[in-house]
Symmetry: C2
Subunit: 129 residues, 2 copies
């Protein structure tokens, strides 16, 4: 039961489209990711997904509209709804979704991350208490 700081966590990695698990609770994962560019169109068969922007501006494209998210904005994408995140600049993103949710949902390709990284809390907080 260790605290973690979002700014510190985001400063500890540089890779894009590679979600990291930062907390696990009630069968859910809190993940963080840096993203830049266009992702793949996909949906999640049985998982709702919450996006919360920590830094930057993010577009979430749907087949019939686009939602623009800036820092502090959040959006729930319900299960089954096809979407594509697009970041014209680097975005720091927090995700809240069931454990085991695949980043590419129903699509499997080179961007699919089957084993997300996981932060060790003692490593990230830098304290032993």
């Amino acid at each position: 039961m260790e605290k973690a700081n979002l700014t510190q966590l985001f400063s500890s990695f540089d890779d894009h489209w590679s979600p990291k698990i930062v907390a696990e609770l009630n069968g859910q994962h809190v993940k963080i990711a840096k993203i830049l560019g266009e992702f793949v169109w996909h949906h999640h068969e049985s998982e709702d997904e919450l996006f919360l922007v920590h830094r930057g501006r993010l577009r979430i494209e749907f087949r019939d509209r686009t939602v623009e998210l800036k820092e502090g904005d959040m959006l729930v994408v319900p299960r089954g709804v096809e979407h594509r995140p697009v970041a014209d600049e680097e975005v720091e993103l927090l995700l809240f979704e069931p454990a085991g949710t695949l980043n590419t949902g129903n699509v499997s390709n080179e961007r699919t991350v089957r084993e997300p990284g996981r932060f060790s809390p003692t490593a990230t907080t830098g304290t032993g208490s």
Copy 2:
């Protein structure tokens, strides 16, 4: 499926210790609350609870130690662990927990909120899209 902005949501109410539901997904709630002062000692029988500080400094007291959280810090309090949040100054707090989680856990008193407020997304975002 409407976006909401944390800063706007927090600016829309003033009451303390009265969590508001701002998102629901996968049987979980995202809630926000403003808190000031000491809460009651309690635990949640079967719910883990994530605290994420949006603004201010929060102490979470446990029977054997205290964890201090500042803006951007998060902490998961596992089910069954007795704790007491204390805010010497006003804190804006984000919570992730299962739908139906009572704020006072195993304790029922005048601070128990059985029906948390719920933000209507269209009302909070001020846009129709």
